[in-house]
């Protein structure tokens, strides 16, 4: 492993329990136990966070707490006595927040070396950041809530694309027109994405202004498609952007289409799955058949 990993296997229990995880039922059989197990995981996560902060192995723990609607939202803990605010429940398991995305912000960086609660998508995002030289292994302590990578999720996620696959070109265009009409360019999708880390996004460059700032259909197509292209072969499919979009646009559909194309054309490449595989974008090889680059 290229980075420090804390897993929660110490107590001998499987510490990841998703509602629909077949393993979970196989191991424990009855649902009644689930609540207690989740609480154990939560307690163990809090203890780990406390230990990391007290021993100064981390200056900050990024995990989940609940917002006023009772939904998981990022918590930033610097005081070991505050770890009680950290929550781990079913909604956190299902949450599409990618907490690795919080680490890029200046205000968060200022708080010291971070420890972050991650699921499989979070780990993959971190792997891509390492592969792209944005992070060093050991820069971040990963509090791993999903020691078993749920490979099934990876295969299942393309199922979502069936809806688009059955549409004709015209129908697809009509579908995206309807979706993008609602985009008002708040850039929440970009701000939450762990892999949108450019210090100056292309939409914020105005000499020249390559992408209209207008939230018109043209400007919105330009924005959303450019962002998808910039994530081609890099998106880890966490779904954080879709979850963040106030307009309720399922941006996943765009990113997944490109991820699937990458997988088809580059020997089953999956961004961040294997920390040692070189990224398909941003890697140069003299064997590349495109000669324009030489």
């Amino acid at each position: 492993m290229p980075f420090e990993v804390y897993t929660f296997r110490s107590s001998g229990k499987r510490l990841f329990a998703g509602k629909n995880t077949p393993h979970f039922h196989a191991v424990y059989g009855i649902i009644a136990h689930k609540q207690t197990i989740m609480q154990d995981i939560q307690t163990e996560m809090r203890n780990r966070a406390k230990e990391l902060l007290e021993s100064k192995q981390a200056g900050l723990v990024v995990g989940f707490t609940l917002d006023e609607y009772g939904k998981p939202t990022p918590a930033f803990i610097t005081d070991p006595d505050d770890v009680g605010r950290l929550v781990w429940n079913d909604d956190c398991v299902r949450s599409r927040h990618n907490l690795v995305g919080c680490l890029k912000r200046d205000e968060v960086r200022k708080l010291g070396k971070p420890a972050v609660v991650v699921n499989a998508a979070g780990k993959r995002a971190f792997n891509v950041l390492i592969a792209e030289s944005q992070r060093e292994p050991g820069d971040v302590v990963l509090i791993d809530m999903e020691p078993e990578p749920r490979d099934a999720r990876f295969d299942e996620r393309y199922a979502k694309l069936a809806m688009l696959d059955t549409m004709s070109r015209e129908e697809r265009f009509a579908f995206w027109k309807k979706e993008f009409t609602r985009c008002f360019k708040c850039y929440a999708c970009r701000q939450v994405c762990p892999l949108c880390y450019c210090t100056q996004c292309i939409v914020d460059k105005n000499r020249p202004q390559r992408i209209d700032t207008s939230a018109t259909l043209k400007g919105n197509f330009a924005w959303n498609i450019t962002r998808a292209f910039h994530l081609a072969g890099r998106c880890v499919g966490c779904g954080a952007c879709s979850a963040a979009c106030p307009a309720g646009i399922d941006l996943d559909l765009l990113n997944l289409s490109l991820a699937r194309a990458g997988e088809t054309h580059f020997d089953g490449y999956r961004a961040g799955e294997n920390p040692d595989t070189l990224p398909i974008i941003g890697t140069f090889s003299v064997e590349d058949k495109e000669t324009f680059i030489r």
Binding site: Y69, F76, E107, A188, S214, G248
Partner: protein, 330 residues
Amino acid sequence: MPQIITRQQLLALIDSLLEAGTKVATPVARGEKAFFQYLEKGDAPLIDPAVFPVNSTKEFFFPRHEILYTFERQGTEVLVTDARPFVAPQVVLGARPCDAAALPLMDRVFGWDFQDRFYQSRRENTTVVSLACAAPDAGCFCTSVDLSPETQAGADAELLPIDDDTFEVRVFTEKGRILFGGKTSESDKTGRTGAAPDRKFDAAQIRERLQTAFETPAFFSEAAVRCLGCGACTYVCPTCHCFDMVDEGSVDKGRKVKNWDSCQFALFTHHASGHNPRHDQGERQRQRVLHKFSIYPEKFGVLLCTGCGNCVRGCVDGLGIRPVLEEIAK
């Protein structure tokens, strides 16, 4: 005598308006969310007081994008054509009372020194019908900002649910009378406005504390860490009104447009020199709170926030303005 209208009659009224070419905006369901939008063919208006649409009705007065003028080079001359301010009548139906109450606040901004005809002609030509609240959700805090679900501000008429299929119609202005004239019937039943949210903080106290906020940025430090610096809260807010004016197109042919902008973006105050006077998110959060609870009230005597909670619901991190205000009030 109370006037009532059935849901069916209301839908028929909407249809007849659309047929006559009047634009009608109401909430429409999209997936799990609802959005205020102009009704198009096949859209079902969602008139349900339990629904909290994501966006506000401000876009029908102050759209996210608007052309101010176009230009075209013709030989050595440049032809400039002013865009005509909006003039067609339109109806906004189903606005939340806190949404409608934002309109008089915006009127002050767009009609104070410079008279913004684009905004004003939309206001003059729009009939606003609000829908009484059923119950507050966790984001609501109108009672903390000198308002209540009973407010009539900004509305020309209000629909108050009697049961699932009947509304009491209360008319407040001439525009409201024209819209509903002859469309309602008398009844002895009256509609209801749901419970008001609990009072969460004292706005006067916040205003006072903000006097020293420049020196105590601690109020905003927690928000700074949680905030992503996106524009969601400001874009769903009925009272946020900042915009940017940019040229689009080419040197030969193009247009000057007015687009929404947000104080939560780092780029908002980024100078051409590279200097940014609001250099971190805490300062941007402070700006949003100061504008609504100090700068605007100082100028116009009222708060620039209706407590609608749109910003709280629209924020992916569950932040928005209220947690910040509660922190200041502590």
